[in-house]
Symmetry: D2
Subunit: 347 residues, 4 copies
């Protein structure tokens, strides 16, 4: 019984099948194959617009490379203080960009607000060439705290960024969960809201290793292909990433997998909320649940074999006592029910 991370879940069978199917015979390397072409067209369909798409294997690579074409090496990237780019990539964005500065901004539940961004920009006025000039606003959808931006929230943030001369990067490692959680189209949650570059994740949602950097303005993709290559992120057998996305989009597999994970999280969150003494820290809007258990309970559950991590962050509202529980496409009703029973008996 694991709620450790969506990346513990392995791959969906459809993804493996697509990989096997793609292995039919020789094909050009480095993305020059027909399947890569086809999948790029699928992206245009899904997002209802022309776009340039680049495949990589990890979310850290997608974010770092995307940011590296969005800011000069001396530029500044505003991001949530609990975002993946800030907390979980071992200074990866600084590496890929050649030393850009990340300015962490706070906000409840992993979400930035227009007020927060505006205040941060005001406190770091442009005084060329002294301060690093702000160039990018990096958002995450769904967030690291299991929440999601509404279309309106996202649009307002993008507008504020553009008005200040920043472009907008969206870390979409859990973009599928954010889409599946509402009724907005992928386009509504990205370019129509003002997102310039989307890092579209597959890995956390049933792929093996598949992420796509999507440039909604193809002209902005600039030298991405050189940067991807020199960072060792251009696969020679690229068709095997393309194949994962082929299956991912087929019959809306990506939405189905994410919707299931979201539903399991909702069930878990509701079940926990109903237990006296358990507090839900953030609204459960995608596939992540953040909860505070009474003293000793989390330890007991872990001792009994459940996997989940304590969650400590800069803006931690729970004084270091929060636990993160993640559901995946593989999580079952039974697991949730068993876990809830275990929680109750751990008191």
């Amino acid at each position: 019984m694991t709620f450790a991370s969506d990346n513990w879940a392995g791959a969906a069978p459809e993804i493996l099948n697509a990989i096997a199917r793609a292995n039919g015979g020789p094909a050009p390397g480095y993305g020059g194959d027909a399947l890569s072409r086809k999948v790029e067209a699928q992206f245009a369909d899904v997002f209802e617009t022309e776009c340039r798409v680049f495949f990589v294997a990890t979310g850290g690579a997608a974010n770092g490379l995307a940011l590296s074409v969005m800011t000069p090496p001396y530029g500044m990237i505003l991001c949530h203080e609990e975002s993946h780019v800030q907390m979980d990539e071992c200074a990866g964005p600084e590496f890929f960009t050649g030393g850009a500065k990340l300015l962490p901004v706070s906000g409840f539940g992993g979400k930035l607000t227009v007020e927060g961004v505006t205040k941060a920009l005001k406190g770091f006025p442009e005084r060329p060439p002294h301060g690093a000039p702000a160039r990018v606003l990096s958002l995450t959808q769904g967030t690291e705290c299991g929440t999601r931006y509404s279309v309106d929230e996202l649009s307002a943030l993008c507008r504020a960024a553009h008005d200040a001369g920043l472009s907008v990067h969206l870390d979409g490692a859990r973009f599928a969960n954010a889409v599946a959680a509402g009724d907005a189209a992928p386009a509504d949650l990205s370019w129509r809201a003002g997102v310039d570059v989307l890092c579209f994740g597959g890995t956390k949602n049933g792929c093996i290793a598949a992420e796509a950097v999507v440039f909604f303005d193809p002209d902005k993709a600039a030298d991405f292909e050189f940067r991807r290559k020199r960072a060792g992120h251009l696969w020679s057998k690229m068709r095997f990433i393309a194949a994962q996305f082929e299956a991912y989009f087929e019959d809306d597999l990506w939405i189905r997998l994410a919707a299931h994970a979201n539903a399991m999280a909702a069930k878990l969150s509701n079940g926990l909320a109903a237990i006296d003494g358990v507090e839900i820290s953030y609204p459960t809007e995608i596939n992540e649940v953040f909860a505070v258990f009474p003293h000793g309970v989390a330890e007991k559950l872990r001792a009994d074999g459940a996997f989940f991590y304590p969650w400590v962050t800069p803006g931690d509202p729970a004084g270091g006592k929060m636990q993160r529980l993640i559901c995946s496409f593989r999580t079952t009703d039974e697991e949730i029910e068993t876990f809830l029973t275990d929680v109750r008996s751990a008191f």
Copy 2:
């Protein structure tokens, strides 16, 4: 009448004389000259300890190069959110370190506190290799806000840093002002308090371009000389930086210049505080005064020919209305008095 910056003041005559004196005949390049040796010994005297000293021309170079040997490229540097390394070096530390992360921490008046640092570290727990591991605490003495750490405050911060496995960098662009402002010895305000590496400034206090990176543990200087060279900061005619420090230390010139600047700032601060409607934002402990004038007054003063800058920072307590006024070794009593008169008549 200028209170724009201590770097508007030019050079003290003693500094220029020393440069001329150093120009006697041929001498080995790149710091291999006798004068450089002599001045390194002066540093050991002033700081009452063996140390390794490297000369560079700017404070940004000193800070960036010092930090680059104190952290791996994926490490994290905690610093004040209003510090020079964070706000004024155009992402220089990120550049010199090869992409280390700066974590800005807040604190009143440009000063970090043990509580603030501890909270920041707790919110960014080590989870190798996911988060950038914290490796350096960067402090500033005197601060960008015109304040200074007491020996006790400094010692407590260094202890907290060391306990957490961090080494301590001290940006001492205004170290002279901090020393001159109290009765603690240079050693007390640096290595005896726990500082590992000091960037010792001369430029803001009467030199032309002279900064020294002082390693109190010579073994930690490691590959500094390679890094200085490749960054273009090894002067071929290094004796001309050494000469500036030679004069700087002679008859305590550095202390005398700084004490004068401090005294002028105190006079200015007291004078302003005595004017109804002017608020002093931070304690005036070195040569910088931060004040809020009534609406329209600063603009009128500037229109009348006074130079000083508005000061907006992330932790701005004054809602964007603060003005920064800096005194230098060249500031005169008359200037202060004239300015105070002008302020009064500008209401």
Copy 3:
């Protein structure tokens, strides 16, 4: 009929099966899974020594990350002027190392010689801190020109490097082909000869995306895991690289696949050599054939549907007329025979 590259060949069925097998249920992420442990032990078996092994997805990542822990950012790496690190990674080693210098050295057939390396070192004497200090000798086995070093050649080069204070990096993207081509053990062609760090390739030889950086002195692995993470090369679902290597080593699959590719190349090379007017440019010692065809022949073959690339390099002995033909685990006797027939009729 393609001789374009070994990476056009897709994956061996055993590799795909192992990936499917590894997908049994949840498993810890980021290499914390049991399969990764097992495969690390397989490496120790194959190489008859303790070692530290890190998995990544591409050869460029393996080389760049390996080099980044072997040299400081201002160090110098000697490599063949036609090596992959020099010619084919878009300045990737410079990126990963934070700006180390590559010093290209010439040598016939992609191979360095002790004389060549010694001359290069002598021409770039250490004058700290002026010249970038030489820190690494990077070799390739099998080479980009289809040749391989004998154990004696390799040992002599490693000895020369170590004597000069350099450590030795071996780009083993085609290490399997080099092993399969002779009777030396993997250990003989790596650490016993003096190699410090081996980039062991799987991708060109039937894997999807599987490379391993092998540190024969585990202490030298240092901060590799931080560097891999920040470069976006730590897979969350790492078991899917481990699985590829599991199959790769099973029943000597890696040797069998490589031996087949080598045999096909030998057949192709011999067949071409027997055709009047075709010249073989380098000895065919692994799975690559370099040949010069009479004027117009290569173009005609390509027009008829054969895939292979012209090969132009700094030391090009053929004045820009060389063609590279690569065989893979998938190449068949029939393909070779058909191609040879086509060549003969293209005259």
Copy 4:
């Protein structure tokens, strides 16, 4: 008696006087002063064209920063294998550019030829995104070997570079010597010949620390000011670099100092050439003499107090026996004569 380097010579008195003169009173920092403006206009006069000029303190900084705006971080810079950027800056260009690749090209006497450059480019064909794309040709005038390009040679090289899509960087640490050695105007030896960016040196020719990066196409200066700042090369008291150039250009001081150094070198070279058993290795065209002495002679001269360095380079035509002797604005006829006498008696 020193022929060690032109940077042993200290500063010309005119330079020191100008620095003192510039110290009259407060002036804006960071190059916002009137003197900096005036000197920028002097550059336009000297070069007979509008240009953008940036001051820094060292040649390594000038070269590195100039190159960093001329190539993307994955680009390639062709340079002479014995050039300063390749041999003497501790991988500085790689650092400033964020990891660009330097491709060393050989050529007699420190000079590149169109043939050499063309061959190098042909051997490293563009195969995006695999090879690092060539973006800059870096030339040195006068060269590290004491030679200089004629206007025709320079023009032909620039044309070849531009035809191949490269821009041209000129390392002019000894540009004054190159100008003084002939009758071509500064413009003829730079932009009229096709040079895009010139690093104009003052330090080796009587300044303390003064170099200027001159962009002949102001639009290409792009983000230079940000890059200079973050690298710690923007002086706060910039007027003290400007002052050096003010004096440098006054009454053609720069030409007079360089012409003297050149004349001394010519005298030294001719004197040595007249001694049986001494060989001059390269034509003495500026202020550097390269010579081979009979066995034991150089050692004896050094033991007797003469300073000069052995000179070993990748293309060394003398098997490690070459000595470099440099004359400066301070070298006297007597020194030359004494030295020549010493040489004769050292046999």
